[in-house]
Symmetry: C2
Subunit: 340 residues, 2 copies
DNA sequence: GAGTGTCAATGAACCGTTTCCAATCGATAA
DNA sequence: TTATCGATTGGAAACGGTTCATTGACACTC
C-alpha cells in the first residue's frame, strides 16, 4: 500500500502540513520580519515533526550563491600546507561557507581543469597557487575566472589578490647567516623558479652573496626539486663532488628529509661535517638531533588572511583594486650550523 | 547603452544562437545518441564562441545528484591523515566527484553540525569518523543520514560500511616486542578509548601482558591524550615518577613529538635510558636519532578503499549488507629499543 | 500512394527554493 | 460609517538544467 518511494520532504510539504503558503515557510526559514509569532511557531514545529531539511542546491539555484569556496593545493602530503589550509577552512566555516579542497600535483592541466570544475560548480570564491606564473594559459584562466580569487605565494599576476611570505628576505637572511659563519660553498636547494617562492629565494641567496662579495657558484644552485626523492638525489650528488659544499640551504617545500637522509647516507654528521638551514620549519627540524636552524613564518596567518580577503571580496568588495599581503619570514637559529 | 549587467550565458542562449531547441543542446552536452553530427558540431562551436559553462547547480537540482562527496577529519594538522585524504580525493576526482573537506576537532557538536550541512548540501556520500562511538546522538545521526556513509577507524556502528586498521593486533605486536626485550614497566599513551583505535590498543596492550604473565600497572596507561602538548605533559609526569617506565609505547595519533620532547627535556637518551615505540610511522620516526621503531599500515590504501566503497554504494550498491575492511598493521623495528 | 517504422529534434514540465506583487485583514483616523 | 494604512499572508514567476511525450521528416514496403 502507498508509494514505496519515500520522497524527501520539501518546503511545499511543510507548507501544506502547517496550512500556510510556501512563501511563508521560506520567510520563517530565513528569519524574515513580518511573520506572526504564532505562525512562525507552527511552521517551526511542522519542520521538526516532518524532519524537513532545507535543500541547499535549490537555494543556490535561486540565489545564485553557493556559499562554497574552493581551494587547490599542490599536495596533501606537504605538512606546510596543513596549518594554512586548517586556518582557512576554520575561517570559512565560521562564516557559513563550505570548503572544497583539491590537489593539483603542480600540474598545469590539473590546475586548468580544477578551475573549470570550480566554475561549473559556481563556487563563490577560489584560493589557489599556480605551477607556472608565466604560462599564458594559466595566467589567462586565472584572470578570467568568474569569481573572486586569491593567489597564495604567487605575485606575478597583478590583477588579483594575493597572500605570500617574503621569501626573498628570508633567503637573504638564511644565506647571510651562513656566510657570516664563514661558509663559502653553500648549496641552495629549491623548487621551480617559475613560481614566486623559488624565484625569490634564488634572488635572496644571490643578493646575500653579492653583499658579502662572494661569487655565486651556479653548480651549487639546484632547482626544480619538487619531491623528497629528487632532493635526496641532488644532495647525494652534491656531497659526492670533489669540492663538496660546507653548508646546505634546503629551501624547497618539504625538502628537509631528503637532505637529512642523504647526509646520513654519506656518513656525515649534521652540525659537524656539514651545516644545514631548512627553508621551512617543522617538527622534523625542531626535533632532529641536532635541531635544525630554520626559516619560519606564520602559516595560519597566511590561511586566515587569504580566507578573509576572499570573504571580503565575496560579500562586499566589488571592484576595489587588488590587494597584496606579504608576511615576514624569520630565522630560528638552532644547532645545525657551525663555523666553516 | 545596453544592459550593464552581463548575464551569464545559459543553455537557452546556446540553443538560440545555434538555432536548435534546448533539449538538443542538453543532449549534445550529455553525449546522448540521436544527434546529427552536423547539429552536434554546430552546437559545440556555439558553446565555444559563447563561452558557455554548464551550471552544476541546475544540473544537480534536476538530477538529484550532486557528484560531491564530503569528508570530515579530526584535524588537518595531523600528518597521518594527509596520505589517506590524498588517496581518497584522488579516487573521487578521477571518478568525477568533487571533494568537500572539513575538520571536526574531535568535537561532537561540530560532527553533528557537519552532518547536517552535508545533508543540506545533498552530497552523494560521506566519509568520516566520530569522536565517541557510544554517544547516542552521534550514533543516531550516523545511522539516519540520508546518503551512504563510510566510517574510518570506527567499528561500533554496525549498520554502515567501515574501513579501519587492526590496531589491536598492532598494539599487541608492539607490546610483545617490548616485553620480549625484558621490559616490565611499559607506559602506554593513547587517545580517547571512546573511539575504536585507542580502545583496541588498550586491548592489545593488555592481551600482550596477559600472554607474558606480566601484570598491567594501570598507572602506566595514560589515555585521552589528544594533542602533542597533552602527551608531552603526561610523559614528563611519567618520567618524573619514582619508578619510571623503561619503555614508552606512544600509540596515539601524532603523539610522537610530545614524548620525544619530554625525554629530551628530562635529559634522557632514547634507545639508551629509555625505549620508545611509535604507534604511527612518520618522517619524524624514521629520521630521528636513533630512528624510532614504529607501527605502520597503508594509509593510502585506507583512503582508497574508503573512497571505492563509497563510490560503489553511490553508483550501484543499493541495499547490500554493510562491509567492513580491516587493514593489517606491522611493526618496523629500528633502533629506539634496547633490552631492559 | 497509403501505411509503417525509424531517427532527429522540439518544447513543455519539472526539480525546490526565493522573491515580488497582490490580496486580505484589523485597526486607526476622518 | 468609510477611507486609509501597515502588517501578514498567499501565490506565481523565476533560476538553468534534464527528460519525456510528441511531432516532423524521410525511407521503405506492399
Amino acid at each position: 500500500m502507498g508509494k514505496a518511494t519515500k520522497r524527501t520532504v520539501t518546503i511545499r510539504d511543510v507548507a501544506a502540513a502547517a496550512d500556510v503558503a510556501v512563501g511563508t515557510v521560506s520567510r520563517v526559514l530565513n528569519d524574515h520580519q513580518s511573520v506572526t509569532k504564532q505562525v512562525r511557531e507552527r511552521v517551526q514545529k511542522t519542520i521538526l515533526t516532518l524532519g524537513y531539511q532545507r535543500n541547499a542546491i535549490a537555494q543556490s539555484m535561486r540565489s545564485a550563491r553557493t556559499k562554497m569556496v574552493a581551494c587547490a593545493i599542490r599536495d596533501f602530503d606537504i605538512p606546510a600546507f596543513a596549518s594554512y589550509v586548517k586556518a582557512a577552512e576554520a575561517t570559512f566555516r565560521s562564516a557559513g561557507y563550505t570548503f572544497i579542497l583539491a590537489s593539483t600535483a603542480n600540474d598545469k592541466d590539473v590546475e586548468l581543469s580544477l578551475l573549470q570544475t570550480f566554475g561549473q560548480r559556481r563556487v563563490d570564491g577560489v584560493m589557489m597557487t599556480m605551477s607556472d606564473e608565466t604560462d599564458p594559459d594559466l595566467v589567462n584562466a586565472i584572470t578570467h575566472v568568474a569569481m573572486p580569487i586569491v593567489l597564495i605565494d604567487r605575485e606575478l599576476v597583478q590583477s588579483v589578490d594575493s597572500v605570500s611570505a617574503d621569501h626573498r628576505a628570508g633567503a637573504r637572511q638564511a644565506t647571510e647567516y651562513l656566510l657570516s659563519l664563514g661558509h663559502r660553498r653553500i648549496a641552495l636547494l629549491v623548487g621551480d623558479p617559475k613560481a614566486y617562492p623559488s624565484r625569490s629565494r634564488i634572488e635572496g641567496y644571490t643578493e646575500a652573496h653579492r653583499s658579502f662579495g662572494v661569487p655565486v657558484d651556479p653548480h651549487l644552485i639546484r632547482d626544480r626539486l619538487l619531491s623528497n626523492e629528487a632532493t635526496f638525489r641532488e644532495t647525494a650528488a652534491l656531497l659526492g663532488r670533489s669540492e663538496r659544499p660546507t653548508a646546505i640551504y634546503a629551501a624547497g617545500l618539504d625538502t628537509l628529509s631528503g637532505p637529512l637522509r642523504a647526509v646520513r647516507t654519506a656518513g656525515l654528521v649534521v652540525g659537524q661535517d656539514i651545516s644545514i638551514v631548512s627553508g621551512n620549519d617543522s617538527d622534523l627540524a625542531e626535533l632532529n638531533t641536532p635541531p635544525i636552524t630554520a626559516l619560519r613564518w606564520d602559516r595560519s596567518e597566511m590561511g586566515r588572511h587569504a580566507a578573509e580577503m576572499l570573504l571580503d571580496r565575496i560579500e562586499h568588495g566589488r571592484q576595489s583594486p587588488p590587494r597584496r599581503i606579504r608576511l615576514p619570514v624569520s630565522l630560528v637559529v638552532r644547532g645545525s650550523c657551525r663555523p666553516a
